[in-house]
Symmetry: C2
Subunit: 360 residues, 2 copies
């Protein structure tokens, strides 16, 4: 088992990564502060993994469970009430601990509930998709969607621990594995060129769900993310590089309706768009862009935007995106593979070229 630390002073916490740690009492219980626990999962994950987690919680604990409907379309303020109702019906107090067992949607909603329930209680992330293991479970971003924008309502609320079990990925649909790999590739692109090289050489192993390769990829991803979060917890500056590909990607998700494109798929297409724009702005070579495209193709990820979405659709949606500061569009671009910059300084003409070239 590997253990990393997200270094945030008195809010620091460990990330444990290891096969079959899901049912490991000695990793979970130190982070349960009181006598009450509420496990939040969804209807897909529940039959596969809930009982293994509940076995850890002996009769010393009062345990509630909430089973959410599965899907990004349920990541709403209305669904949060299912969690709040259960906590209050079962009289959970301020020492309760919430456990998020599921993918990014479960983690984001459980974390946001933990941030708001009685103005803040503890929570533990047990992510069960590759996407949530390498991205959303680490760093404390929590929240829900609004019909007018993704993740518009939320909080920064750090978990007390993250338990990542790569063995659960054996039951993950291939399409979701690929979507998770999109965020893995992102870390190589924005801050770790050696990891990008490794990914070029090991993509077939990841796609075949080789645990050793997956464990390494998860660890490198979490190391890169933890470093950025430790430097800029609340996204005052640097942390925005983690949004590489996301401004374009969020626009795709908003336009297509949440859940039709998976988040990682939208980010994949968005990353190629950002790489293409970086090339037009003179920082990346055509060869670099080809490397990005080839790696995305090897991961079975989309490399073009939706057929029914044109440049104007993108621009209209991106204006309200939270990366927009005082009406100027701010994007994450690449200086090279392994180095990102945040900039408002790009040519609108180049942006429109990218948007039309990357259309399917």
């Amino acid at each position: 088992m590997r253990t990393l630390t997200v270094d945030l002073g008195d809010r620091s916490y460990p990330i444990h990564i290891g096969e079959n740690i899901l049912g490991d009492a000695k990793l979970l219980l130190p982070y349960v502060k009181g006598g009450q626990v509420c496990v939040v999962t969804n209807e897909t994950v529940e039959p596969m993994y809930l009982s293994r987690l509940l076995n850890v919680l002996t009769e010393d604990f009062t345990v509630s469970t909430v089973i959410l409907p599965d899907g990004e379309c349920y990541k709403t303020t209305e669904t949060l009430n299912l969690i709040y109702n259960k906590l209050l019906e079962d009289k959970h107090n301020r020492t309760t601990t919430l456990v998020a067992l599921g993918g990014g949607v479960v983690g984001d909603m459980t974390g946001f509930s933990a941030a708001c329930y009685q103005r803040g209680v503890n929570f533990i992330q047990v992510p069960t998709t590759l996407l949530s293991q390498v991205d959303s479970s680490v760093g404390g971003k929590t929240g829900v969607n609004h019909p007018l924008g993704k993740n518009m309502i939320g909080a920064f609320h750090q978990p007390n621990a993250v338990l990542i079990d790569p063995a659960v990925l054996s039951t993950l649909p291939e399409r979701e594995l690929s979507a998770g790999i999109a965020e893995v590739i992102k870390y190589g692109l924005i801050s770790d060129s050696k990891f990008f090289d490794w990914l070029e050489n090991n993509m077939p192993k990841l796609m075949a769900c080789d645990y050793e390769a997956l464990t390494f990829a998860i660890e490198r991803s979490c190391v890169n993310k933890a470093e950025v979060v430790a430097k800029d917890e609340r996204e005052g500056g640097l942390r925005a590089i983690l949004n590489f590909g996301h401004t374009f990607g969020h626009a795709i998700e908003t336009h297509q309706g949440y859940g039709n494109w998976l988040h990682g798929e939208a980010v994949a297409a968005g990353m190629l768009m950002a790489a293409d724009l970086s090339m037009r702005e003179g920082s990346l070579s055509q060869h670099d862009v080809d490397r990005v495209r080839n790696l995305l193709v090897a991961a079975n990820l989309p490399i073009t935007s939706p057929a029914n979405m044109d440049a104007e659709d993108f621009i209209e949606i991106m204006i309200v995106d939270k990366k927009v500061l005082n009406e100027r569009l701010r994007l994450v671009l690449l200086k090279s593979i392994g180095e990102a910059i945040i900039t408002e300084d790009f040519s609108p003409v180049n942006l429109r070229k990218t948007l039309s070239v990357c259309k399917s």
Copy 2:
């Protein structure tokens, strides 16, 4: 004009108190960071004071306004959506500033929206009731009610400034003025015996809405609150003394349905119950309890619990109240007038006696 500071390191902020500062641009504008402002008020306050506030916001700003329905019964997650919808429709970004113009309900909901919108934006409190001026606008507690409990969903989110204009109290209904005085009396009881003496001598002036007396009472209240908040922002310990009378009071509000008893009225009855229990536990004298009762009567406040509520109703509701830690009921009692303690160590028999004696 008087200015106090709530000392919270890099989240410190000023409280300005002065007649007719509502329309004072040089007090408001330094705290508006970006070019966007959203003023949230309610249908009662809007016709009286909104235009004076909006006059300050010149054409340099993009200004949105949200008019909420008036009343504690609207302090819900559903009403929050009115604020979120407006912010997103008008494309407010992360640099926007929310302004709460109204009483505690408006302040708590505006503050909670500011905590959650895009994971946190700036906000300014402009409280227009005595209760909100001396209590809820200071200290960063924000939130909404749930059918199963008051303030169960919320966040700690400090304002960037608090502007208190005692002149607006001239339009406050007498019943609400009294409700605000309940919290003023609280500060005397928990931490400021000299202020309690002053209140005994000056209650007729406060009840007559004498600005000089009100300004002094608001200032002393805010000084006492700011000291407690600076020592214990997130209610790890000491801050709980501010809940003096509130555990009983919240039970009354929950049982009667939000809005039927004003918050300050429920707290008034609750404070006398807490004082009575303190006497039974041997720390207060009967004379002290009489002083508390007499001051509440002079402020036209209730001194008994509702006729339709018995001891068992109180106990059932208080168990889920957030001041309950691991099933043991924790209460704020008085060691003397001017000194509070937080304790689980009281006799259940005495509690039941208090509950039956204080019944109307």
